[in-house]
């Protein structure tokens, strides 16, 4: 693969040299090749220029320890505008927003509300880019933010409409590393990636193991009941964490190859399933040990416990800060939104304490990063069982020193996806 890439790079270099002889600068020549629509297929070098050695459109790659201020495209809406009328459309994952909360918003502002869904973030970005959807506010993950900003798909927000951002949200996410100054986004939900397991089935004391991630590589007794999240980033990230590599945005082929080798080693050990059904299979007994997001154990306990079974059996382990991935997603206003005022009001509405709490505890299982929502508070209110305190994210878990899957270069994405494809091919 690398040899082929080198050959293509050599060919491209020769083309660039010829263009240079005609007085065109190297960068302009590369841009011309990209604009011709032939570039990316010709050479990874071109994609490195399109995304820069940094990110899409040459924007720098944001990291928790290396925050990025995104360029502003267009103007935010003016202060003091009246909300629009008509139908307000939210663009979101399926089952990731409580309809009752959205209906309440509709009642408050006297508008019809509807949800348009996408299956994954790739699909969301594609639909926004192709203008296949007519939506007013969209869910977006930080790792795609530079991409949609470079593509001018979002409009800057006017924080004057969103006082709850300063009032209610954790300080760490008022000025997040991926969007310094919250120019485009407000946070929606926050979660960690850890290990969900059945306390009554798993003999090992996972939290007290020297390397809890290694439980997957010692799961011979749980063959057929072990699972990994169906995501290139999460699956390969798991193997990296097992080796103690906490740079989850690495593009070092050696590290990725090692992670692939480790994942492949799991197959003869425990024949893991690769899926995203851990939010219900732990309580149903179909899996006993599953890489999980922190919302999953809560959903197991809230919605899927079989009658007569104690919720005590559902456990969740997360590593300390800097050793376990912590992620969040956001709301943003598409550039093409026809109801930007309502979109701003929605962002403020969903950050209202009661609305956020209801959405979290009555439906999604994914925690809003609000000051009022604390582990002890959730336990005291009976919303979260005491033994699942680990499933609640705390403000200290995010920010500098934390690890988060962030934007990769085009080549980086290819490497991660190819490694994952090899793993799930079972070869």
């Amino acid at each position: 693969m690398t040899e082929d890439n080198n050959q293509r790079d050599d060919r491209l270099e020769r083309v660039l040299q010829r263009l240079g002889e005609h007085g065109m600068s190297r960068r302009d020549a590369l841009k011309a090749i990209i604009a011709s629509g032939m570039g990316v297929a010709v050479s990874p070098l071109v994609s490195r220029v399109a995304w820069g050695a940094e990110g899409p459109g040459g924007l720098p790659l944001a990291r928790p320890d290396s925050p990025v201020t995104l360029p502003t495209h267009g103007e935010a809406i003016a202060d003091g505008l009246e909300p629009e009328s008509g139908t307000f459309t939210v663009f979101n994952y399926e089952d990731y927003l409580y309809k009752a909360v959205l209906d309440k918003f509709g009642e408050k502002y006297d508008v019809d509300v509807q949800i348009t869904t996408f299956a994954n973030m790739d699909q969301a970005v594609t639909k926004l880019a192709n203008q296949d959807v007519d939506v007013d506010v969209t869910e977006i993950t930080p790792d795609r933010l530079t991409q949609v900003t470079a593509g001018k798909l979002l409009q800057p927000i006017n924080q004057g409409y969103i006082p709850n951002l300063q009032k209610n949200v954790w300080p760490q996410l008022q000025d997040p590393f991926y969007d310094r100054g919250s120019q485009y986004t407000v946070p929606y939900a926050v979660y960690t990636t850890g290990i969900g397991y059945r306390g009554d089935k798993i003999a090992e004391d996972i939290p007290n193991m020297d390397n809890p991630w290694s439980i997957f590589w010692n799961a011979q007794d749980y063959e057929g009941y072990t699972g990994i999240i169906n995501s290139p980033r999460e699956a390969i990230g798991l193997a990296m964490l097992y080796r103690g590599n906490t740079d989850l945005n690495t593009e070092d082929p050696a590290v990725i190859d090692q992670a692939l080798e480790d994942l492949q080693a799991l197959i003869p050990i425990c024949n893991p399933k690769v899926n995203n059904t851990q939010y219900q299979t732990l309580s149903q007994g179909k899996s006993w040990l599953h890489q999980s997001w922190s919302g999953d154990p809560l959903m197991n306990v809230w919605w899927y416990m079989p009658e007569g079974m104690s919720s005590d059996v559902i456990r969740y382990w997360k590593g300390p800060k800097g050793a376990t991935p912590v992620q969040n997603d956001c709301w943003a206003v598409p550039a093409a939104s026809t109801k930007p005022v309502l979109a701003h009001l929605w962002m403020n509405f969903i950050l209202e304490e009661q609305n956020a709490y209801t959405n979290f505890t009555s439906y999604t299982g994914y925690q809003p990063p609000l000051k009022s929502i604390t582990p002890q508070g959730l336990i005291d209110e009976g919303a979260v069982p005491k033994h699942l305190r680990t499933a609640v994210v705390e403000p200290e878990d995010v920010g500098p020193g934390s690890i988060q899957y962030a934007t990769l270069t085009f080549e980086g994405q290819r490497m991660w996806q190819d490694a994952y494809a090899k793993f799930i091919s079972g070869v």
Partner: protein, 295 residues
């Protein structure tokens, strides 16, 4: 009496249907496979002009179909699963179709309706129903324990090839039965009577008359179930979820579902389509040959 063009015009709806729903979409897949990507959004940008196609990716992917390489192994696994699924489907479907065609009489219509009935429920739902039945605490294991057949029943959903093959058989077997019923129905009863009159036993009549005359139904049924099975990705995903049981469709799904390489997914689709075209060509050749023999 009627002008010749009238008969040709009757084919127009079918031709339009084929062009709109097969030729154009398939050409789009080819355009994506040999095309490029949007440098910012990474959306596929199909290249429509064949002179501009880029085959670098294709050659790399084809190289991975060499024996021992990644796609070869996934393809071989897929082919083995489908071989077993089609063979077992045929062994189940033929007696069922034979009974419906020869012995059902009054109940024939009811049985055919019952065969079609599963189509009223989506494939996905039918598979999910089996997930419930085959779960560790599902009805199947409950029965095995209750009856004493197996006090420690297996975890059927734990990544077993057998479960995936079972899912394929269950999902596609009606497609096998229906063409077989049609083929058996078309056999002239006089031929069977002649066979018996000439001294053949019922068994000999079946093997020397009925079975050869139903060959086209067998081939048709096999082709009809084989084609969708090769593209299937949800059966292994739902019934197993293990990498060890993933099929070629799962690789295509991964590359199309997200990420920066939809062109790889499109190329795999074309490779698979080319292989299936060979199977289809054999089927069409057999049909043509059989028709010539009948004339």
């Amino acid at each position: 009496m009627y002008p010749r063009w009238l008969w040709q015009a009757l084919a127009a709806p079918g031709v339009v249907w084929l062009v709109l729903l097969f030729v154009v979409p398939f050409y789009a897949v080819i355009g994506v496979a040999f095309g490029t990507l949007d440098p910012i959004f990474q959306n596929p940008i199909p290249i429509w002009n064949p002179f501009d196609w880029n085959f670098d990716n294709t050659m790399q992917i084809l190289a991975q179909f060499a024996p021992g390489e990644r796609y070869w192994q996934v393809f071989a696994r897929t082919a083995v699963y489908i071989f077993f699924a089609v063979t077992i489907s045929l062994l189940i479907a033929y007696p069922v179709a034979y009974y419906i065609s020869r012995h059902a009489r009054r109940t024939k219509v009811i049985l055919l309706v019952l065969l079609v009935l599963p189509f009223w429920v989506s494939y996905l739902m039918r598979m999910l129903a089996w997930v419930g039945l085959l779960a560790p605490d599902g009805l199947i294991n409950g029965f095995l324990v209750w009856s004493g057949i197996d006090t420690d029943p297996p975890n059927w959903l734990g990544g077993h090839p057998g479960t995936v093959i079972f899912g394929l058989i269950y999902g596609y077997i009606p497609y096998m039965i229906l063409p077989l019923v049609a083929a058996l129905d078309r056999i002239d009863k006089n031929l069977l009577e002649a066979s018996r009159d000439l001294g053949m036993t019922a068994r000999q009549t079946f093997f020397r008359v009925t079975l050869p005359l139903s060959k086209m139904g067998i081939l048709g049924g096999c082709v009809i179930v084989t084609l969708p099975m090769f593209g299937d990705y949800y059966t292994p995903m739902i019934m197993s979820g293990s990498p060890t049981t993933s099929m070629l469709g799962n690789q295509i799904y991964l590359y199309f579902h997200g990420g920066p390489q939809p062109d790889v997914g499109a190329t795999l689709t074309i490779v698979l389509a080319a292989f299936l075209a060979v199977l289809m060509a054999y089927y069409l050749y057999s049909v043509a040959k059989a028709q010539r023999e009948l004339q």
